[in-house]
Every structure is written in C-alpha cells, then in structure tokens.
C-alpha cells in the first residue's frame, strides 16, 4: 500500500537535470503549482494529461505528482530555498489552477476553468479563466483577458488591466492604474490609491459600479441608452462630461448626482483630487490623451 502510494506520489522527481514528464489527469482534477522563483508558462492542449518541462540545476529539483485528484508541480531546493526554475506546463483547458509563487512571473493562456494565482515579485498575465478567477501580485502587474465569471485582480505596486472579460469584477491596486477595457461587468468595484481608474463597457440595469481613487483620474465610458443613477464625488478634483447630463442634486464639497434613463444601475465615481470624466465608448482614451 505504502509502495503504491509512493509510486503515485512521485510520478517525476528530477534533480539537477532537464525534465520532460507527463502525468495523466482525470476530469475534475486540480493543478496545484508551487514555484519559488522563475517563469511559469501554462498553455492548454486537448489531452487529459499535464506535461511539465523544466531545466534544473544541481541545487534544485522539480516534483510532479498526481495524488488525490490533484496534480502537483513543486520546485524545491536541495539545501535552502529553491533556485529559479522556469516551468513550461501544458494542461487540459478544463483544469482548475491554483498557483503560488514568490519570485515568479506567471503567464497562462487558454484555461477555461477557475484560476487562482498569487505571487509576490512577479507579473501575472492570464488569457482565459472561467468561474472564480483570482489573480494577485504584490510587486508585479496583473493583466487578464478573455475571462468570464467572478473576477478578482489585485496588485499593490503596479497596474491592473482587464480586457475582453465579463462578470462580477473586483480590481484594486495601491500604486498603479486600473484599466478595464471591453469589459462587460455585471457589477464592478475598482479602486486605486495612487492611480487612474478607467472602465469602458456596458452598464447593466440593476448593476452596481464603483470606481474610486485618491490621487488619480476616473474615466467612465457611458454607452447611449444607459439607465443609471450616478453619484460623483471629489474634494479637490473636477468633473467633466463629453455629453450633457442633467444634474439633479449638488451638495457641498463638490458632490453631485444625476440620472441617466431610468436610473436602474447605481454608479459611484469618486476621486479625492483627480478629474472624473464621462465619455462615450471608445472615446475615453482619446479624451485622456487630450489632457
């Protein structure tokens, strides 16, 4: 029994050599990757299997296993922290991905499944993802395209960019810009402290959209026919609109509100000391460039 388990657990254990190994995966299995440092590149294929290609030095090793419905890929050091090891992984598009890294740049393309990625010093670049998609980097940028579902994209020190995506979207950074382009958000919460926030996409009836920043500009593309109650707040900033709006309420402290159409959606735009700009779809960046 123990021997069988050990055999299954160590489908591949490479030490100080190039590895190219493939383990079988059954539908529903999860891919769990732990990479201390290096580039991790994940792409998809039609086979129900996971292929791992890597080069390791004598100081590091890569462990690949499939136990308990989890395909695990782990970089390890012989003594102390693992060295940087680049991983090229190919997996089925349906396979859920959990990845954690430290000095790790991550690039994923083609997965149509839930994705969770956390890294500290590295960029995250994902094309794809369905269901819960959660991407986080402390020091790197986060870029997401072609995702659908409940999306979280967080950075601390860099920009966050989401495009051609749809669903409930939550994006934030401290010291970076947020760009949401061709995004179909049913609800949106986008917040930065020291950067611009821009959203170009539909505003759905009944949806809630919140774009906030402290020290940056807000840009919102508003499609014709939008039904929204819009609340605009700033302290030291300005408000401008490329189209006419009928302000229904103004308040002390540079706050105003107005209704578009039936007012069904709730839109909150807040910049402590930046410009809040309404534009038509596709015109947002032109407007920003004019400044």
């Amino acid at each position: 029994m123990l021997l069988t388990l050990t055999s299954a657990a160590l489908a591949a254990l490479a030490l100080g050599q190039d590895i190219d190994t493939t383990v079988q995966a059954a539908r529903g299995d999860r891919l769990d990757i732990s990479s201390y440092g290096g580039d991790v590149s994940i792409q998809t294929w039609s086979r129900n299997a996971v292929r791992v290609v890597a080069s390791t030095s004598s100081r590091g090793r890569v462990e690949v296993s499939n136990v308990g419905a989890v395909v695990t890929v782990r970089t390890e050091g012989r003594r102390g922290p693992p060295p940087h090891i680049d991983l090229e992984i190919t997996a089925p598009a349906w396979m859920r991905l959990d990845l954690s890294g430290v000095y790790t740049d991550v690039k994923v393309a083609g997965l149509q499944s839930p994705i969770s990625i956390e890294t500290v010093q590295g960029d995250v670049d994902v094309s794809g993802g369905q269901g819960n998609v959660s991407l986080q980097s402390v020091e790197g940028s986060v870029t997401l395209r072609n995702a659908k579902g409940r999306i979280e994209a967080h950075s601390v020190n860099q920009d966050v960019s989401v495009s051609d995506a749809s669903g409930e979207i939550n994006v934030e950074t401290v010291n970076g810009e947020i760009s949401l382009k061709h995004v179909d958000a049913t609800s949106l919460e986008a917040s930065s402290v020291n950067g611009d926030v821009r959203y170009d996409g539909p505003i759905h009836d009944g949806g809630r959209y919140s774009l906030t920043t402290h020290n940056g500009d807000i840009g919102l593309a508003v499609p014709a026919g939008t039904n929204a109650s819009v609340s605009v707040s700033t302290f030291n900033g300005e408000f401008k609109s490329d189209f006419e709006v009928s302000v229904t309420q103004t308040h002390k402290g540079r706050r105003l509100s107005f209704t578009l159409g039936s007012g069904s959606a709730q839109v909150t735009l807040e910049s402590f000391q930046g410009t809040i700009h309404l534009a038509r779809p596709g015109k947002l960046e032109e407007g920003e460039d004019e400044r």
């Binding site: 402390v138 020091e139 601390v156 402290v193 402290h214 707040s233 402290g253 706050r255 402590f272």
Partner: protein, 225 residues
C-alpha cells in the same frame, strides 16, 4: 445630513419597516440625496461583508483589538453557534458612525467573523460575538480598535521583516507611506467638512486599505516562516 430617516436606513435594508413607512422612506429617498448616498454607503459595507474571504489570522490579534475597543465580554471571546447569532441585528448607522462601522468590519474579518448582516452569514462559519465592533455609537472605540490593529500588524511587520526580501519590504513600506499620505489628506478634508458623506467614507476606505496591506504583509511573513 442627519434627518428623521437616517437612522432607519438600516431597518429599510433589513426589510423591517412597515409597508407604509417603507413607502414614505422611499419617497424621501427620491428627494434626499444625502440619505440616498448614505444608503449606498451602507449597501457597500454590507456587500463588502458578503464578499470578505475568511482569511486565516496570522496571529490571534482579536484579544488585543477587542480589549482596545472594549468588546471583550466577561470570560473572553467565544464562538457561538450560527443559529444563535443569526437573530436580526438592528443597525443604527449614521455619519460618522458609518466610517467606524466600515473600519470595524475589516478589523473583524481577519480572524474572527462578524455577522454584520444576517445575509452575510456563510454556512460553516462560527462567528465570534463582537457586537461592539459595529456598535458604532462609540466611534472612539472603533478608532482605538483600528489603531490597536494597525499597531499589532506593524509590530508583526517590524519583527518579521527579516524574513522577507528587502525589495518586498521596501515596496510594502512605500505603499504604506502612499496610503498614510492619503489618510492624512482625507483626515484634513474631514476636519474641514465633517458632515461630508463622501469624505467620511473615503477616509474609512483608505484606512481599511492600510489594514489590508498590513495584513497582506503579515501573511507574507507568516508564509515565509
């Protein structure tokens, strides 16, 4: 900003108002942007409560926080069954209580679960009774709780910084400084216009952001240990 309806907004959200009162309030909301904005802020807090992940605490910070805000019941904190904690809780949010509630929410989400709203309850989670965190009639307590939580987490960062890469520490400290600067600016703005709903909620959100980043740093230290 406070009027006769302000303190009834939470009941409105909870669906506890009589139909006639509800209709009257809804009519009022059409004419009162302040109440409408406050309602939106409360909704945001509730939404945040529902979306908060149950992150494991880096350390058990709750006793210190609870003590700081006077929330420790006799005999200390204890988990209670969900069923007994699900009784409807009446809110009494108003400004600047909303700011305190918002901060209290994030204080409570680190290792203890706060049922701010019955709808925020999730199966399998045993909440800790800490009503004082959102008993926002006591904003100074919440402020002390915030200060205590920040101090706790800053101590974790100071003591554990050697376990993180120096670049990572610098990045975290630089971003904390960015947030601190924003907090100072927001505080000054609130001093100049204390009844401003936006400024109060913005200050609370920025303070929350600092806590979140400190908590993230503490989690990195914990993971590196």
């Amino acid at each position: 900003m406070s009027d006769q309806w302000t303190d009834r907004l939470s009941e409105y959200l909870d669906g506890e108002l009589a139909p006639s009162v509800r209709a009257e309030l809804e009519q009022h909301l059409l004419q009162c942007a302040e109440c409408e904005a406050t309602l939106a802020d409360i909704r945001r807090v509730v939404g945040r409560a529902g979306s908060l992940a149950d992150r494991a605490p880096v350390g058990d910070l709750w006793p210190g926080i609870a003590q700081a805000i006077g929330a420790t019941p006799p005999g200390g904190t204890k988990a209670v069954p969900i069923a007994s904690a699900r009784r409807p809780r009446r809110w009494s949010f108003s400004l600047p209580q909303l700011a305190a509630a918002s901060i209290g929410l994030i204080l409570a989400s680190g290792g203890t679960v706060l049922l701010l709203h019955p709808g925020a309850a999730r199966p399998g989670v045993a909440p800790v009774q800490s009503p004082s965190v959102i008993n926002v009639g006591v904003e100074p307590r919440a402020a002390r709780g915030y200060d205590a939580a920040v101090a706790d987490l800053e101590r974790v960062l100071t003591e554990g910084r050697g376990r993180l890469d120096t670049t990572t520490v610098k990045v975290i400290e630089r971003n904390l400084a960015t947030i601190d600067s924003a907090i100072v600016e927001a505080e000054r703005a609130v001093e100049s216009d204390s009844a401003n709903v936006y400024l109060n909620s913005h200050l609370a959100a920025t303070m929350r952001r600092k806590l979140e980043l400190l908590r993230q740093a503490a989690a990195l230290i914990s993971a590196a240990s």
